[in-house]
């Protein structure tokens, strides 16, 4: 993983998560800003997939288990589509909170992915 990109990924996922949870709790239904925020997290995750595919060849090797890393990354990639599908079928404020929960979970998973990649024996 690339440090600066990891910071961006975790930062954007956290901001998107807080935004969606707050807007959901004040009663906003899923709308462009919340759905696009979570879609942006998905775009960053797909960029992370590309980075993770190329990095070992470029001399940036994971210190932890690469299989465990990919389980996290693949699961994370499935979450925004699932949350957005939920938001499109259930048009209630609670779906906005669900979008936020997914984004916050991705922030935690990205933190853990970074740990597996960079910390010895994580």
């Amino acid at each position: 993983m690339i440090d600066i990109f990891t910071v961006i990924l975790i930062g954007v996922a956290t901001l998107a998560g807080v935004l969606c949870v707050v807007l959901g709790l004040v009663g906003r239904k899923p709308e462009d800003v919340t759905i696009l925020a979570v879609a942006l997290v998905e775009v960053l995750l797909l960029a992370q997939v590309v980075i993770a595919l190329i990095a070992p060849a470029a001399g940036n090797h994971p210190t932890g288990n690469l299989g465990e890393f990919w389980v996290y990354l693949a699961t994370a990639c499935l979450m925004p589509p699932a949350a957005i599908a939920w938001a499109l079928t259930d048009r209630s404020r609670w779906s906005t909170v669900v979008l936020g929960v997914a984004a916050l979970a991705i922030a935690v998973m990205a933190y853990r992915m970074n740990q597996i990649w960079t910390v010895q024996l994580a």
């Binding site: 299989g67 465990e68 939920w86 404020r93 779906s95 024996l121 994580a122």
Partner: protein, 153 residues
């Protein structure tokens, strides 16, 4: 019925968040325990077996909440609450009993219940409390509804 403060459709709203958070936790616990069992079961067989058990219970609890299997929801969420308290305490006071070398909640042997779920932001500790409260409130509303039906002329 404007005097009634809660009805089942209102309860269904926040309940969806509970289902979503449970689903995330079920996926997280399942993914991690399956990986730990395949990759390093010998390091801490008791802890990893408990981890897998917790993962299965989270999956059942998620389904029970989503499909409104109330009894199963009570049993699974109650089981989780007891599990996180008991295993959390053992993992802090006597990690050796679980075959753990340390209580590091982010370590390679960490499980969903280690150190009260600290590696999962303590969500495994907080969520059952919210879940049980939600079930308890739902039961009171249901009881109030049936009482209202019985007392109606």
């Amino acid at each position: 019925m404007s005097t009634r403060r809660l009805d089942s459709s209102q309860l269904a709203g926040p309940g969806r968040i509970l289902v979503a958070v449970y689903a995330v936790l079920a996926v997280a616990a399942t993914g991690r325990s399956v990986f730990q069992i395949i990759d390093r079961f010998g390091e801490a067989p008791i802890a990893f077996s408990l981890s897998a058990l917790a993962a299965v219970v989270y999956i059942v609890a998620t389904l029970a909440l989503a499909l409104r299997w109330t009894t199963i929801a009570w049993v699974t969420i109650g089981f989780e609450f007891v599990g996180v308290l008991v295993i959390g305490t053992v993992s802090v006071l006597a990690p050796g009993l679980l075959g753990l070398d340390s209580v590091d909640p982010f370590g390679r042997e960490a499980t969903v219940w280690s150190a009260y779920g600290a590696g999962y932001l303590c969500i495994p500790l907080v969520l059952p409390v919210i879940g049980l409260f939600y079930l308890w409130r739902g039961r009171r509303v249901t009881a109030a509804e049936s009482a209202a039906v019985e007392s109606a002329p």
